[in-house]
């Protein structure tokens, strides 16, 4: 029988994969996609808890999170486009004017 812990472990592994991607890649778009994977892992955990407790409030939270993710993707990709037009690159290592 599949319990909530199975789904939570899947969610934890997905989160770790997202962390790996965000850490090892230098491409801004790849980092952004890894962050989206982490967001999805958290959503899966929320859905699991909603099912565990029989409370549909978790579904509403995931609905709102999806909206936030869509808004975030639109603004984030706009920022990446602007950075690309300024520097001609999407290499995260090249955006270091805040480094001291």
């Amino acid at each position: 029988m599949i319990g909530a812990e199975h789904f939570l472990i899947v969610s934890a592994i997905l989160f770790a994969v997202g962390v790996t991607g965000a850490l090892i890649s230098r491409n801004l778009i790849m980092i952004f996609m890894s962050v989206e994977i982490m967001l999805n892992a958290a959503n899966l955990a929320i859905i699991t808890f909603a099912r565990m407790h029989g409370d549909m409030g978790g579904h509403v939270i995931v609905f709102l999170t999806l909206t936030v993710a869509a808004a975030e993707a639109a603004v984030g990709l706009g920022l990446i486009m602007t950075l690309y037009s300024k520097r001609g690159s999407v290499d995260a290592a090249k955006f270091n004017i805040m480094k001291w």
Binding site: V10, E36, G54, H59, F63, A71, A73, S89
Partner: protein, 176 residues
């Protein structure tokens, strides 16, 4: 008993595909292939949502993520044309192994904590009676438009701000 076994098979298939394609997404050097693996991962996660009786949210995940967000990513990747000279290599050398170690530790810690807390309380009881329509469109919508109405309305303001922000960013970019 037969249906129960099928659920287990579907769970392991969907979980394996979700994790495997997320790994391939991170490992890919071509961003377009990464975005396509991300779609595969999200579709498998939608299967997991359906196994958790979240039918409505699972459908939304497919529509919003696979349909809208990844398409937006693909648009930007293709517009920037990241192949060739603008291609960015992932970090290499000893730094890479430190980063892999750190993320592996994060994953191992999370899995360990969940395995520690697993017990009879984590079993998913079958939904019967009043809970039979758990996760359908109607009960979720009723909750969304009554208890969580303020959050829902504030989200519309967020979307408005995001639209204005995206338009301003894109406009400055084309003006230069």
């Amino acid at each position: 008993m037969e249906a129960l076994d099928l659920n287990i098979v579907v769970f392991y298939l969907a979980a394996g595909t979700a994790i495997g394609s997320a790994f391939l997404m991170v490992w890919q050097r071509n961003p377009v292939a990464s975005a396509l693996y991300m779609i595969l991962s999200i579709l498998s996660q939608a299967v997991l949502y359906v196994l958790l009786d979240a039918v409505f949210v699972g459908a939304l995940l497919v529509i919003i993520y696979a349909g809208a967000i990844v398409t937006l990513f693909l648009f930007v990747i293709m517009m920037l044309n990241l192949r060739g000279e603008h291609f960015v290599e992932p970090s290499t050398g000893s730094k890479r192994y430190v980063k892999l170690l750190v993320s592996g530790l994060v994953g191992a810690e999370l899995v360990y904590l969940i395995a520690q807390s697993s017990g009879p309380g984590m079993a998913l009881a079958p939904l019967t009676g009043a809970m039979a329509n758990f996760g359908d469109v109607k009960p979720v919508a009723e909750l969304l438009y009554s208890k969580y109405l303020y959050g829902f309305e504030i989200t519309s303001i967020l979307l408005l701000v995001a639209i204005v922000g995206a338009v301003i960013l894109a406009r400055r970019e084309s003006g230069e």
